[in-house]
């Protein structure tokens, strides 16, 4: 049977880790001492910890901005690209897509230089307008927004491509008919494009939530984190996956880290379920 190699690897490196992770999450397990059953102790300790609260608070703000902003930008870009024809449509699509090609770790490192205080590119541009230098990555008031900007810069092109594919599937006649009925451009978007794109927008939003919940590379590198110290000044860029990794590899509390993974998964599942419920409601209307 030729499915065997795939299924073997899948069982060993996917199914087994989930099962063992569940086991670890109920144990005090730190790689050196023997395992000790602690019941829900790991979960309680995480939920009560200040880092968890901080990380969740950051995540909430981050998601509330980055998902709607990211999707709106991507949607706008798709409409923009679609309004051009032939050569220029391709050129702009490529340009908008280019940041997606860059690995996230590179996007973060390049933007770290752009954000540099005093002589960084962004501060220089702000300087032209007479604004003082802002230490974007060390000022707790701006850090989150700096990370969001990088995230939108990286992910907008990705979502744009998916939305563009959806736009291509909308029959041209619909717009023709709407134009004959005297619908304005804005009305066409509102009453044809958005409803027709509903499944695509749904996918992009759900996927955006799931990946935003697990954000790691960008804030980790923007803050120059290591397992010894992460999250940036006052934990202003501390996110759940960073917290989880820190508990595992920083303080070697793998039981807690495993439990953390399950808490995150539960949140993601709840979110996804809520999204699907909303979608069904949308269909019923």
């Amino acid at each position: 049977m030729m499915v065997f190699p795939f299924m073997l690897l899948f069982a060993v490196f996917f199914l087994y880790p989930i099962a063992s992770g569940l086991f670890y999450s109920f144990h005090d397990w730190n790689a050196t001492t023997s395992t000790r059953f602690v019941g829900l102790g790991n979960y309680q300790r995480i939920l009560a910890s200040r880092d968890f609260e901080k990380a969740m608070w950051n995540l909430g703000k981050y998601i509330a901005i980055t998902v709607p902003l990211g999707i709106s930008v991507a949607f706008g870009l798709a409409l923009l690209v679609n309004s051009f024809k032939g050569f220029w449509s391709n050129i702009f699509r490529s340009a908008f897509f280019l940041p997606v090609v860059l690995p996230a770790f590179l996007a973060a490192t390049v933007w770290r230089w752009i954000y540099t205080p005093n002589f960084g590119l962004l501060n220089m541009i702000l300087g032209w307008f007479g604004m003082g230098s802002i230490n974007f990555l060390n000022d707790t008031g701006t850090m989150l927004y700096a990370a969001i900007a990088v995230d939108v810069w990286v992910s907008a092109g990705f979502n744009m491509v998916i939305i563009l594919a959806g736009l291509k599937n909308i029959p041209k006649d619909y717009y023709e008919a709407a134009r004959l009925d005297g619908a304005s451009r804005l009305q066409q978007v509102r009453y044809i494009t958005i409803p027709m794109l509903y499944p695509v927008l749904f996918f992009v939003t759900t996927y955006g939530f799931i990946s935003a919940l697990q954000v790691f590379d960008v804030p980790w590198l923007l803050t120059g984190s290591s397992f010894a110290s992460y999250g940036g000044r006052q934990g202003a860029l501390l996110f759940p996956v960073m917290d989880m990794m820190g508990r595992g590899f920083g303080s070697l509390r793998f039981g807690q880290a495993a439990a953390y993974g399950f808490i995150l998964t539960a949140i993601i599942m709840l979110f996804t379920a809520a999204m699907f419920a909303l979608r069904r409601k949308g269909y019923d209307r």
Binding site: F13, I18, S20, A95, I114, Y207, D217
Partner: protein, 293 residues
């Protein structure tokens, strides 16, 4: 300019007479501005590398490369005096082995799933598809612990093997192989082709497009994978490009901006080249993953 001329100039009704309508002009300006925002950081990286060392990064915004030879000497310097090339080698090996593994294992499984019936097929398929919804966050720690207990920390197999059973890849290949006509398989079987020959001489050649797309997407993902190498291969022997770039950029790095940017640029080069060559395939692959999801 007279008052009338100014009003005429700023009057929207007058603008219609121009080759561009006001709307179109706005569209072009917006598109151009966004394109600059999207591309400039990357272009800027190139300009910092191809400039005399010591030129302030900042004070001119570095709109264009100023010294080709300085850039080359920085690249040579980083290749000869740091362990960057070793990391490059590790990243290339990591990517190629992952691509080979994902394609071989995935295509074999997809062949069975797409074209044949076998006991337990539905439940296996459902399990694999469900796994697409399980976030990496829940598996990464236990997978690390498993890899560690196998004694695979700081080894190439530790980097590569846990990532080979790609549910996404399997799904994509199944979708593609489903379109292979059954008659073709039947005819070949009547001609005496073995099961493996059906796979090797019919399924594989006919799925070439999907395989190429999957290979490119896998390359992008593996080359850009930061988290897994960071925890599974923390020894300098197996640093990937991502880790080295992270170190060059860390607050304790002793490297100058020029050198750091050169490291960044070299890391960006393979995916950028891939993009230039395979743009259509990449875009199609991503669009497909969206429309099918």
């Amino acid at each position: 300019m007279t008052a009338e001329a100014i009003t005429a100039y700023s009057n929207p009704a007058r603008a219609v007479a121009l080759p561009f309508s006001g709307w179109a002009l706005l569209k072009w300006i917006t598109a151009a501005c966004i394109a600059i925002v999207a591309v400039f950081p990357i272009w800027w990286m190139v300009n910092v590398v191809f400039a005399e060392p010591g030129t302030p990064v900042s004070l001119n915004p570095r709109l264009y490369p100023t010294s080709f030879s300085a850039g080359i000497s920085k690249i040579l310097m980083i290749m000869q005096e740091t362990d960057y090339m070793k990391a490059y080698y590790v990243s290339v090996a990591y990517s190629l082995l992952t691509i080979a593994g994902v394609l071989i294992i995935g295509s074999m499984a997809a062949f069975e799933f797409a074209l044949f019936e076998f006991p337990g097929k539905r439940i296996l398929f459902a399990t694999v598809m469900l796994s697409l919804m399980v976030p990496t966050a829940v598996t990464i720690i236990p997978t690390y612990l498993l890899t560690a207990s196998l004694g695979w920390l700081n080894t190439m197999q530790g980097l590569v093997v846990p990532g080979l059973a790609s549910a996404f890849g399997l799904f994509m290949l199944i979708q593609f192989m489903k379109t292979i006509p059954r008659d073709m398989i039947e005819a070949a079987r009547l001609d005496g082709a073995s099961h493996f020959q059906l796979y090797r001489y019919i399924a594989l050649p006919l799925s070439k497009n999907a395989l190429v797309t999957l290979a490119i997407l896998t390359f992008m993902k593996t080359w850009g994978n930061f988290m897994w190498p960071l925890i599974v291969a923390p020894s300098p022997e197996l640093y990937t490009v991502g880790q080295v770039v992270g170190l060059f950029n860390s607050p304790y790095s002793h490297q100058t901006v020029d050198i750091v940017m050169t490291a960044n640029l070299l890391a960006a080069l393979p995916p950028l080249l891939f993009f230039l060559i395979f743009q259509r395939k990449i875009v199609e692959g991503i669009a497909m993953s969206g429309s099918k999801g």
